[in-house]
């Protein structure tokens, strides 16, 4: 049995037609529809909802968030959008209450938990025996837009801490929000400071891919403009003879789609028009795979066992299951023991209390008896006195009867 393993390049004698494969793929994916999930992280009021409205040119319903939440909550909302014949299932996840608490040490946790949960759900689906991945609504976050407040100095400490926790789990694009409050020169310094702080702290942000020649040039130039300084607006202002989306100030009009005013157009290009598919790929191929590997390693799965033989998933699974059941049984026993002990304790306590009460009752009874006896004695004594007194009274009366007149006369005096 010999086989020539070397690949050979053959030339075609005519047009076969497999150059239509990309079109077939495209048409299939258009029929399926696309799915995209955006996570917006930023403090309350920084402009997350307005930017989403501006990016997708629609009004997603939104109430203003309050500053007084106890913690950070993630609020996912899914919308079905359509443009030409392409359908998009868009999920926007908002971080409510981010940056409002006085102690923000745990602020990043709900965000990390949410991202992990989406990964976990996908993993569970993947590991199922009977699975339907083509039908699965993929909720994994494809992009995290991190909104930086336009202070003009540098990142906030909360920003640094949060981005460091997220950079290995999700693609991050940092953006400077409400950028119409920073002048051009300040903006240049601000961007440099932010990027240098990110680099010196080892925060990995999403790099627009430069491996594909058709987009490498534009992506490379965009990478140099990060973080994007954006302004959002859904209101329209008349400029010249057109109505454009803008913000009207007493000193001028900031136009959202004017590239010399802000980087909104750059963000839209990069996020939606050029790299959306790459973001989805990176999420699946890099972030999800990392999560999956860590999770499975945790569970005890390996690719090769100590003897360098490929492990059977089945065997490992069985072993883990036995272990788990054993654990369960042990825990049950423990709990049963504890319960029995507690019952015994309580019984003993109750018995003690009963005894105490009984003793007290006896004591009181005794006291009562004593008192009664005393009172009886006194009564006896009193009765004697009464008798004695009566006797004397009777004696005195008989005496007075024998000398009535004198007494009366004395009395009348």
């Amino acid at each position: 049995f010999t086989s020539n393993e070397e690949k050979r390049n053959l030339s075609l004698g005519g047009h076969v037609g497999f150059d239509s494969l990309p079109e077939q793929l495209v048409s299939k994916s258009v029929t399926q529809g696309f799915c995209f999930n955006i996570l917006c992280v930023g403090e309350t009021g920084i402009g997350k909802s307005t930017l989403m409205n501006t990016l997708f040119n629609t009004m997603f319903e939104n109430e203003e968030a309050s500053h007084y939440q106890n913690g950070v909550y993630l609020r996912p909302r899914t919308y079905d959008l359509q443009e030409s014949n392409v359908r998009l299932k868009l999920t926007i996840v908002d971080t409510v209450g981010f940056g409002d608490q006085i102690n923000k040490e745990d602020s990043y946790k709900p965000i990390v938990d949410y991202i992990d949960t989406q990964f976990e759900n996908y993993l569970q689906e993947e590991l199922k025996i009977k699975r339907s991945l083509f039908n699965y609504h993929d909720t994994r976050i494809h992009i995290c837009l991190y909104f930086i407040a336009p202070t003009g100095h540098s990142l906030k400490s909360l920003d640094l801490v949060t981005m460091k926790k997220l950079d290995s789990k999700v693609n991050i694009i940092p953006i400077i929000a409400k950028a119409d409050t920073i002048s051009k020169s300040e903006l240049h310094k601000f961007k440099i400071k932010i990027m240098s702080e990110l680099v010196s702290n080892g925060v990995q942000i999403y790099q627009f891919p430069t491996d594909d020649e058709t987009v490498s040039e534009i992506n490379a130039s965009m990478n140099a403009h990060l973080p994007f300084a954006v302004v959002g607006s859904v209101e329209e202002v008349k400029v010249g003879n057109k109505a454009v989306r803008a913000r009207q100030y007493p000193w001028g009009v900031v136009q959202v789609e004017n590239e010399s005013h802000c980087d909104f157009v750059k963000l839209r290009e990069m996020l939606i028009r050029v790299n959306m598919e790459d973001l989805r790929e990176q999420t699946h191929a890099r972030h999800y795979e990392l999560y999956r590997r860590c999770k499975l390693e945790e569970m005890g799965f390996k690719d090769t066992d100590p003897d360098s033989e490929p492990f059977s998933l089945q065997e490992t699974y069985e072993a883990k299951r036995k272990e788990f059941l054993g654990d369960l049984q042990r825990k049950e026993e423990e709990m049963r023991q504890m319960f029995v002990n507690k019952v015994k304790e309580t019984e003993a306590e109750l018995k003690d209390k009963e005894r105490e009460l009984h003793e007290k009752f006896e004591q009181l009874k005794r006291m009562h008896q004593e008192e009664k006896k005393k009172v009886e004695d006194k009564r006896g004594y009193l009765e004697e006195e009464m008798n004695a007194f009566n006797k004397r009274k009777a004696a005195a009366e008989t005496l007075s009867l024998s000398q009535p007149v004198k007494k009366d006369k004395d009395k009348k005096k």
Partner: protein
């Protein structure tokens, strides 16, 4: 028993003219008193301590520079984000002597770098309240000392608090800070970096902040009422001023060319924001109020209300403590005690209660026996 504004006597702005029929020949001459006061005060000079507080990046230093038209922060070093994760609040004083038309002012700016910048900001206002109390205490000691010729007044006369314009109103840290300080210092809340808000948004935010200040019971500095005999224009201005709070301010360290003039402002691709343009922001109102009309009132309220409250509280604490310790630590003569000792009172109360309980038990037992007999 905290005093509030209006309960203590404050110097009337314009004296009531006594209607009398004194003719020119009987002119006494005390009408020159205001001039004498003016002369003496110019000779003595004035001092004012202003505290600025708020998160980093709100434009505090820029505003101070714009207000006093100098550069107080020449060699300032700003911290990186990682250095600020566990940052504590510092208190830094800058003192400058400035002079205008012969009037000297010793201006002290108290800076509070680090406020609200760490990840965990629990009680981050404590160093600030401690500082203010320390100044009160220092003045209290000086005032009660034997040699009172050269007392330095380092008490904080006013605190400008910078609220970020990016949110929907006050945040928990803003509320907690103002509540911790409103009875120690005159707080003037400001909306910082107001050039990120359109006029509608400014109005909404001001209304919301005023509402929340009311709701949380924060006592910010109140402008004194106009005297009834001021002219209408003044009253109108005063009314506008009051309805404009909290002031939405913008500051600038740079001078730009706008409408043919050189003014302090910020240059944007879409226009130029002028700091002193009243239709752009409330900077002029703030400056007028802070420097030109109400500086002395701020000092008065600090002396008559905040300091007096502190002093009264201090004395009360001292007398009750000294009675227990029986030690003379302060140079102040102690007034005779009228309040009983707290500890012995407690003991007495306890014993009383015990007696009462025993009495009740006895009664109950007697009742029981009585019932059993019958």
């Amino acid at each position: 028993m905290i005093k509030h504004k209006g309960e203590c006597a404050r110097a009337p702005r314009a004296t009531q003219q006594l209607k009398n029929t004194i003719s020119e020949k009987q002119y006494v001459g005390f009408a020159t008193l205001p001039n004498q006061v003016h002369r003496k005060s110019v000779k003595k000079g004035f001092d004012f301590t202003l505290m600025v507080a708020g998160e980093s990046g709100m434009g505090k230093s820029t505003l101070v520079n714009s207000l006093f038209l100098t550069d107080l922060y020449k060699d300032r070093k700003l911290l990186n984000a990682e250095e600020r994760i566990n940052q504590t609040v510092e208190i830094i004083k800058h003192t400058v002597d400035i002079e205008e038309k012969g009037v000297k002012l010793k201006l002290t700016i108290v800076d509070t770098p680090g406020f609200g910048d760490a990840v965990n900001n629990n009680e981050c206002w404590k160093p600030i309240t401690d500082y203010i109390d320390q100044q009160f205490e220092q003045y209290f000691r000086d005032e009660s000392g034997l040699n009172r010729k050269n007392i330095q007044d380092n008490r904080v006369h006013c605190c400008l608090y910078f609220i970020p314009p990016f949110g929907h109103g006050l945040r928990p840290v803003d509320v907690e800070f103002m509540k911790a300080l409103h009875e120690k210092v005159n707080i003037i809340p400001l909306i910082a970096k107001a050039d990120c808000l359109t006029p509608n948004e400014i109005k909404k935010l001001k209304d919301r902040i005023r509402e929340e200040i009311d709701k949380f019971g924060i006592k910010v500095y109140q402008f004194p009422e106009c005297d009834s005999d001021e002219d209408e224009e003044f009253k109108q201005l005063d009314k506008e001023l009051k309805e404009c709070t909290p002031f939405a301010v913008i500051g600038s360290n740079t001078v730009v060319e706008a409408r043919g003039q050189r003014v302090r402002g910020r240059l944007y691709p879409w226009g130029i924001v002028e700091v002193e343009n009243q239709s752009h922001c409330d900077f002029v109102k703030l400056r007028n109020m802070l420097i030109r009309s109400h500086m002395h009132d701020l000092k008065d309220v600090t002396c008559d209300v905040h300091y007096e409250n502190y002093r009264a509280q201090c004395i009360q604490e001292m007398t009750s403590k000294l009675a227990q310790d029986n030690r003379m630590e302060s140079p102040i003569p102690i007034l005779p005690l009228s309040t009983p000792d707290v500890d012995t009172e407690k003991l007495i109360k306890m014993k009383d209660e015990e007696l009462k309980r025993m009495q009740e038990m006895l009664n109950k037992m007697q009742q029981q026996m009585h019932d059993k007999e019958q």
